[in-house]
Amino acid sequence: MLKISIWTKQDEEISTTMLNHPIVRNIRRRPLLVVAPLSLIVILYLFIFSHREPSKKTQKYSYKSKNKSWFNKNKDSVILRNLPKNHLSHYDLNQLTVSKTPLENKEEILVLTPMSKFLPEYWDNLNKLSYDHSLISLGFILPRNEDGNKALKSLEKAVKQTQSDPTTKFKKITILRQDTNSLESQAEKDRHALAVQKERRSLMALARNSLVFTTISPSTSWILWLDADVIETPPDIIQDLAAHDKPILSANVYQRFFNEETKKPDIRPYDFNNWVESEEGLKLAKTLGEDEIIVEGYAEMATYRTLMAHLYNAKADQNTEMALDGVGGGAVLVKADVHRDGAMFPSFPFYHLIETEGFAKMAKRLGYEVFGLPNYLVYHYNE
């Protein structure tokens, strides 16, 4: 006990002498003088070495969600709903049939329509199709503009009505808004000016491709391209065209009008894109630059091609076939295999052809034959 007390006494003595040391006294008086530089050193140390030391989990990329703000939300249908077990589905495409008798073989058909204007007559005609609606899927693509908005609103209403009725309900309907810009004016006059033809049809080709490739499913056997302004077709059009068993088959597009001369309702040819290539057409193609196109129905470009539109004969057999080199998009039945093999609507001059005419050429390059029915009429809307 005594010893300890001595030690403490000594300790006390040392500490008091230390406290009386001038440096220590200085620190006691102004502690910031030491603390500030010390803390600065510590901070600097941390700052420099925290960067040098690799963190344990180095990720090359950030995976933090950057999803758009709440008011800019994606309003599309919910993706991936009702997935099968393990999210796994299996399709044997070897079993898929494409036959002359599609209805008996329960073959599914996809009706595709690029739509910039909604015509009630078009929708009525679609609803009247005699093919089993539970085997028909529909696909629409609308332009990214005010026309598209208007058409979309009407389409939405019509679709809701049709789908709520089990007797008319279609298997599946996909509606797309096009991502590429579209030309603003769709007035009849502008639409057919040669100068804008190329751009218009190039955009149309992109729309058609976006539509077909996102909607074609493993169970699709046939695809019917039906323009939004084709308002009258025979109700059996699917069965009628499929019965010919052709890879690509186009109907003849006509238009009803009131003939002022005879004072009677009459019909006249409308779609001139169904044609047979001519010597002159090929010669003309040779003179053109790589990026130029040939389009039908313009006096500036006389091709002397045989146009199916002019070959209609009211008295002849409806089922007469003719081989074609170019097709229009009015009403064309295509075996889905043709598109699956890669045949698409070129948005660029492909052998100086574009869109549906380019499509026919590409299908031919893939080894498919293209046909038309000159005496099988469908009718275009009269503006």
Binding site: S62, L93, I173, T174, F213, I216, G342, G367
Partner: protein, 431 residues
């Protein structure tokens, strides 16, 4: 400062707040584009604005979905390796939709594929599981055998390419959905690939982009080699050649028959080069392609016909460019394809194995021979040097003529013989 509000100021503040609020509300209602979006309760009707699926450079942060396409044919042997890579992918698995095409297979590729998929989809870790998985079966009929030399012979290339193009098209046309933002093509037989491959390619923000593809080689073939010669930039030589060929001809790269003098992505690799460096391409290979989904959606595909004198992936590059999309390759970013020996390689490997056995046999015999030598022959040199003087006792050695025997000729004759044998071995002709 005094923040006390009198009556007028309070009203002013309220009005200001109201104006700001209504402006924001209007903005919310009428931005971004004033585009109408319908809403359907019915499950049978779907609406998609394709503008939402254009594909960004950092797509994984925006929950953008990738369609992962894998064409398979007799690929059972490669599946364990392939799924090893799949499990390691860092791109969020739930954003990856898998599409497989199984065609003309006789090795139960389908069964094995399902086994692997079920295993991964039942992983207790939910982050391992993938999005939608679709397996398609379609046989196209095989024109050519599936061995390396069958597939890579020059004559087989045209028809083979067109058939493969059809198969690829059948896969993506049925698999792609409106909501896919990116499409990734990958062969199953890739041996080494970074787990960040999707992000690595995607962050370049290109419409079509491919890495460099090499393959490891056995030492006797030089260790490593460029594999994919289908990624190239067009050259004047190539264009001239294309012009000279008939409509249905199909140029294939990497064959002496068609000299195009094109710069190949594969040969431009510098092992120490910056992996971020990009190079514009015209034709591309199909081992690993990342594209924005819009490229396929708007109609680009793998031409199964001769497009600008090319087919399949090479023509896909050309077609995409024709449609205005950009096509790039990364010369210093490499993934490794497996090494499959060609039939010449196989013959040489067989010869190497036989040669090894032969040399072992020879060494064994030599060891026995060396051992037996001492026993079979008795050395008499020492005896002779002792007995020599006895034998020569009566001979006058002063006049002894020294005789030199020149053995060099005999020896070199021997050597020549040996050399020829060696040469024959080295010059082994596998044919």
């Amino acid at each position: 400062m005094n923040f006390k509000l009198d009556g007028i100021n309070r009203i002013r503040l309220l009005v200001a707040c109201g104006i700001i609020f209504t402006i924001t509300l209007l903005k919310i209602l009428f931005t971004p584009s004033g585009l109408y979006s319908p809403s359907f309760d019915d499950e049978s009707v779907k609406f998609f604005d394709l503008d939402n699926y254009k594909g960004r450079a950092d797509g994984w942060q925006y929950e953008e979905r990738v369609l992962f396409c894998v064409p398979l044919r007799d690929a059972s042997a490669h599946l364990p390796m392939f799924f090893g890579h799949m499990k390691n992918l860092t791109y969020p698995h739930n954003l990856i939709d898998l599409a497989f095409l199984v065609s003309d297979s006789s090795d139960n590729t389908l069964g094995n594929l399902k086994k692997h998929l079920n295993e991964i989809q039942n992983d207790p870790n939910l982050a391992m599981r993938f999005g939608e998985i679709e397996i398609f079966e379609k046989d196209f009929g095989q024109i050519i055998g599936q061995s390396f030399s069958d597939r890579h012979g020059f004559a087989a290339q045209g028809p083979r390419r067109k058939l493969m193009a059809r198969a690829r098209n059948w896969l993506w046309t049925v698999a792609i959905k409106p909501y896919h933002s990116h499409v990734y093509w990958r062969d199953a037989d890739v041996e080494t690939v970074p787990p960040t491959i999707l992000e690595d390619l995607m962050h370049h923000d290109k419409d079509v982009i491919v890495p460099n593809v090499w393959r490891p080689l056995p030492d006797w073939l030089g260790n490593q080699q460029p594999y994919d010669l289908n990624s190239w930039q067009e050259s004047d030589g190539g264009l001239q050649l294309a012009e000279a060929l008939e409509e249905d001809a199909c140029i294939v790269e990497g064959y002496v028959e068609y000299q195009t003098w094109r710069p190949h992505l594969a040969y431009l690799r510098d092992p120490y080069g910056d992996p971020e460096i990009e190079m514009e391409l015209d034709g591309i290979g199909g081992v690993s392609i990342l594209t924005k989904a819009k490229v396929f959606r708007t109609g680009s595909h793998f031409p199964a016909f001769s497009f600008e004198k090319h087919a399949e992936t090479e023509a896909f590059g050309k077609l995409s460019k024709r449609m205005g999309y950009n096509v790039y390759g990364l010369p210093h970013y490499v993934i490794w394809h497996i090494y499959e020996p060609s039939s010449d390689d196989l013959k040489h490997m067989e010869w190497m194995a036989l040669e090894e056995i032969r040399q072992k046999e020879e060494a064994k015999i030599k060891a026995v021979y060396d051992k037996v030598w001492d026993k079979a022959f008795e050395g008499v040199q020492n005896d002779w040097s002792k007995e020599r003087n006895d034998f020569m006792k009566n001979t006058d050695l002063t006049n002894f003529r020294k005789i030199y025997v020149d053995w060099s000729g005999a020896e070199s004759e021997n050597l020549v013989e040996n050399n020829e044998e060696d040469k024959h071995l080295a010059d082994f002709d596998p044919a």
